[in-house]
Symmetry: C2
Subunit: 156 residues, 2 copies
Amino acid sequence: MLNIVTERMAVMSKRIAPAALAAMLGDAISRLGRRQRQARPVGELTQNQISVLTSLELGGALTPRELADAERVQPPTMTKVLARLEELGLLQRTPHPTDRRQVLLSATSAGHDIVVEQRRAKDEWLTRVLTRLTPAERQILCQAAEIMSRIAREGD
Amino acid sequence: MLNIVTERMAVMSKRIAPAALAAMLGDAISRLGRRQRQARPVGELTQNQISVLTSLELGGALTPRELADAERVQPPTMTKVLARLEELGLLQRTPHPTDRRQVLLSATSAGHDIVVEQRRAKDEWLTRVLTRLTPAERQILCQAAEIMSRIAREGD
DNA sequence: CCCATGTCGTTAGCCATGCTTATTAGCTAT
DNA sequence: ATAGCTAATAAGCATGGCTAACGACATGGG
């Protein structure tokens, strides 16, 4: 284990320009994203729908506007996704307690069950691939995932 | 710098299960992918169109079927993308020398120029974000990009 | 040689998801 | 009270996935 760490540190000592890294990383993200998207079974929920339901599970009841901001889409786009999810019985609306313009959204229990199952199915391919990596490689990806999540959430 | 390295080593010493990593990484890829997609200026080429033109530059003249396989989409989907690219004057068709069913596609010089420019623009946001990271973080992403590209290309 | 079968590309038609613009309802501050 | 802001939706458009079906062509067996 120690030699793995020192080996990684040797690799880490290489410097890389942001622009070159952006090209590499952008390409890797595109390719992996496409692989992951096509791993989704036909007729099931899309990434976006899963993401919305997940946000609702994590954040409790949210308004369409809050969801649109979280998903970084325009409000009308979110309206369509919500309509589809409601039609599927995965999401329910309740009136906002103080502002009658707003609506509070929450996942139904069916929504909760399905999102758990869908996430598992979606991650299945990636999980299988990851088991074939070395522990050191997985740790790099773990750190990278943390960094990427952070910059994806940043304002600009 | 040194304390950053030791801090990272502390994180690296944590083990992580492939399934949990798949969930984290999948989420990070989705989010970053969306950010990158929306960084593309309106009216410009989409990721897919750029990817097709890039394949043509790297692979020379290819048939629609070969491109569909390379992009992992169905042939009718590729037909639409090719029609759009041809309409934009970025792509040209030549008959196949021996099989009259097939068509050979190649990028025009305008196509070549535009794909280079588009890639630069697409990477601009990511480059800007990456400059704000520490060198240690960039090195982690560099290693991660290499690993992700490798697994994205794997057969299954 | 001819025909059955298969392959290539395309068309048609569906759906999801993104956008802009416009509309309706309700809040808020002057 | 009302003028202006904000929330959500509706309408309309483009892109990019898919399947089904079709015409043109290639190929192999009888």
